[in-house]
Symmetry: C3
Subunit: 363 residues, 3 copies
């Protein structure tokens, strides 16, 4: 026997639909109980684009996490018959290739009953014919209700925002920001420890971020969101091996410190690990159309001196920096992070296209 027939003979045909217990097992109910629904904060997203993590203040974040948790706790309740995005049309524009983020958004939009038009190849667009981005935006105004855009050209989202009369969500603009990824990351942390949403958390945590704040959009956006909950974090340790002095953008660190974040830098991951409650690792930096990889000693594997009960987050796709031997351990919250990202996007999209009233308990 060869091929698929051989695999079938060896029992590969059947699968288990249930997730292993270790895949981030805390149910979103903890977060739901910890937060009271306060609808009005979600309305502030009305008539707003989502370009930067800086747009999100603490009360809005808390309510978005609650709505995401509501979706995650009841995945079927909002599927049928009431579909919040019914009749709404998304323009899914990925000028920088991606399958993970694109499918995360498209899955979220479909789950809520909306329709989608995808653009996955920049060369098919008018831009290739010399069309301006603001003309592209004016075109989008006529064709859809919402745009999601990823582009290696950092300024594209800003150029389009000026002409758009429908909301645009930045799904990653060059090395600048990736706000919805940061929302998914912080949502994972708050699902794990909903007590951190309190005004004065009793048991603060220490979070280590492996990455370069000025060259990784996920790190830039995440730090901004962490600063909204600065009293939940004992310390934020930024771990990197950069020697070029291009670690922070002008004023980036100052702004975070001003919000109350307690930041320290380190170049020794294994030295920091025993004290970290959350390890965020993202060793791949997108630079123009390629990517650079961080140093070989900035890796996590089964031998890493992880603190007991600590969790690992990674925006994925991963390479060698996060070893698969950690997948079956309780440290693995990166799969839960990806899973929760769909519900987080469902929450955001519901508010962005002004269908919040359809999913509130009390309006």
């Amino acid at each position: 026997m060869v091929g698929a027939e051989k695999a079938i003979f060896e029992g590969a045909a059947s699968f288990e639909p249930e997730r292993p217990d270790v895949y981030g097992s805390a149910h979103p109910k903890g977060l739901l109980r910890a937060v009271q629904e306060e609808h009005e904060y979600l309305l502030t997203l009305s008539k707003n684009h989502v370009a930067s993590a800086a747009q999100f203040e603490r009360p809005l974040l808390t309510q978005l996490f609650r709505l995401a948790a509501k979706y995650e706790a009841n995945p079927d309740r909002f599927a049928t018959p009431m579909k919040p995005l019914s009749g709404k049309l998304l323009i899914s524009a990925f000028y920088e290739p991606s399958t993970r983020t694109r499918l995360s958004f498209e899955s979220a939009w479909h789950r809520l009953g909306g329709d989608i038009m995808s653009i996955t190849d920049r060369s098919t667009t008018g831009i290739a014919k010399g069309e301006s981005l603001s003309d592209v935006a004016e075109m989008f105004n006529n064709y859809g209700d919402c745009v999601v855009l990823r582009d290696n050209a950092e300024s594209s989202v800003m150029e389009m925002m000026g002409a758009l009369r429908i909301p645009i969500i930045n799904a990653g603009n060059g090395m600048d920001e990736h706000p919805t990824q940061a929302l998914a990351d912080l949502y994972a942390i708050m699902k794990w420890r909903p007590d951190l949403l309190a005004e004065e958390p009793e048991n603060k945590i220490r979070i280590g971020i492996v990455g370069v704040p000025n060259r990784m959009r996920t790190v830039r956006s995440l730090l901004t969101l962490l600063s909204r909950f600065s009293n939940s974090f004992e310390e934020v340790v930024v771990i990197h091996d950069d020697k070029n002095g291009d670690v922070w953008a002008p004023e980036q660190k100052e702004n975070l410190l001003r919000e109350g974040l307690n930041i320290r830098e380190s170049d020794d991951l294994d030295k920091e690990l025993p004290e970290l409650d959350v390890v965020y690792i993202n060793a791949i930096a997108w630079v123009a159309d390629g990517f650079e990889v961080m140093g070989k000693n900035l890796k996590l594997d089964k031998d890493s001196p992880l603190k007991k009960d600590s969790i690992i987050l990674h925006p994925l796709a991963r390479g060698d920096e996060l070893c698969t031997s950690l997948d079956d351990t309780a440290h693995n919250w990166y799969f839960a992070q990806a899973r929760g990202a769909v519900f987080m996007r469902m929450a955001l999209l519901t508010c962005i296209v002004q269908r919040t009233e359809m999913v509130m308990d009390v309006v």
Copy 2:
């Protein structure tokens, strides 16, 4: 601050969902009032492909414009719960790259409740394996209810028509035709001046078309449709700087003259402008897989001696030939033209897949 955060700080996050007044402000109600609904003309599209503008006679055009205006005046009425294209499946085949026309069709189809399968890369199709277009057509017969096709190869649509048992709409075939663009163009004119739909309009208009009739599919198709309403146009001035003598196809001009169009050629745009009520400009001609651009003096900008109250149309995407300084003026009907194109396509698609009865007032 850098990037998106900086843009947000400068107030870019919020947007205005309402269109500026100058963007082609005439409401489709004028057209609705000017035309009585006569359902039976729309039925003539049953069991017909849409390959050439020449298929459209005056009464059918008038009724299509009326149905488009009905959709445009009531965008939400036909969205839910009654969806005219519910259960219908579109094969959106763009072998020649396009985002604008593809999204215009897909948006129209989605707005009416249908589903879509897109082909955006010819190299993934059987054609790359040497499959004949009539075999591709036979395949499409089994998979969908309607095909929209754009191809730089002029004959593709004709080769497919012979084997198709579902309707195909030509979305642009080489340099030959682009019938639905012409429908959108004339719909814009008739929305602006519904009195031109009368049997004997009192105040005819003069229209200037910047382009080469034999090498621009939008121009060829538009001239044909204008000839159906020849008594609405004082004169059609074709403006170009072509010296090669390849301006008209054999008999093209003769056929238009026979329909009653009054045609003059000119090479001096600025000389003609003060007398033109409508300026149609399309300075990009698609030649094989590339494009040629018309002469530098065939441009419109704020210094152009436009007649007061005249309107500018452009099928877009645009380049230097139509300056953005005109966007905020009342001459700008090119954005309204793009907006109306979705409703025009909704009207056409409804009839093509034989769902007209669902949207008529009286059946």
Copy 3:
């Protein structure tokens, strides 16, 4: 006149929605009457992937054919208002280019009311960034309810199956298998001759298969399914001109013989034709990223000595090996085969995502 206008003038605009009589005219009613619905066999597909034709035993096949026939006999009954795949999301991943198979699956999924996310370019995926297939699978677990995958890399589907918690259907893996194509092929045969589904058919048929079992995935999968009904076939004649001795995989022929298939090889198609009731021809073999074509004498055309009332099957796309002159003859069952493939996939998908109860007469 030129182009599309000329075609319209010559009468090309109108089309006939009805299929020619000769296109495989046997209605699926024959098969429906021949088989009693026995729901429980279909439930065995629950929590199973579909990787190899070897997974399908005779009773399950019989019930799948019956469900496909039910869909084909009543194409509108399950379209609205009850949609079996409503709320279900398909990830349509075609890493090896295809339009035919992709549209066949997507059409089936849409007809049943589901939504789809398509991946048609492997370079946009994390695989291009070095992501493992099992991480891709974990991602898919979060985003959809079912995966369809085609890949020239034979092992991709097996690598993904290990990590998937949603079902995956193999739409062609390198040269190995194409199980759903084989289901469509055998469904066509059983629709043509439902008496062959009986325990002891009285009038067995002789089937000729033009192709190389070890290098053509459609042939490998089809032979496996034929072996489940070995007492329906007098003989299976494998016709090829291969001289390399690479005709069968290790044990492939032995397994088929053990199931009771009576196999003979031949290199002379014209000599075999007068005795073949079914001719299955597939002269294009996919080898890595290219394809090889079989010898010139292995062709069918109007001069081929076909047995009266015999039928021709071809998975399509076709080249010179199957002449178009046969399209208008009663031998043409290859178009019916393609048509039936959509209903066959509808039946399979309904069971795979566990919505069988919605379409059974008695549950």
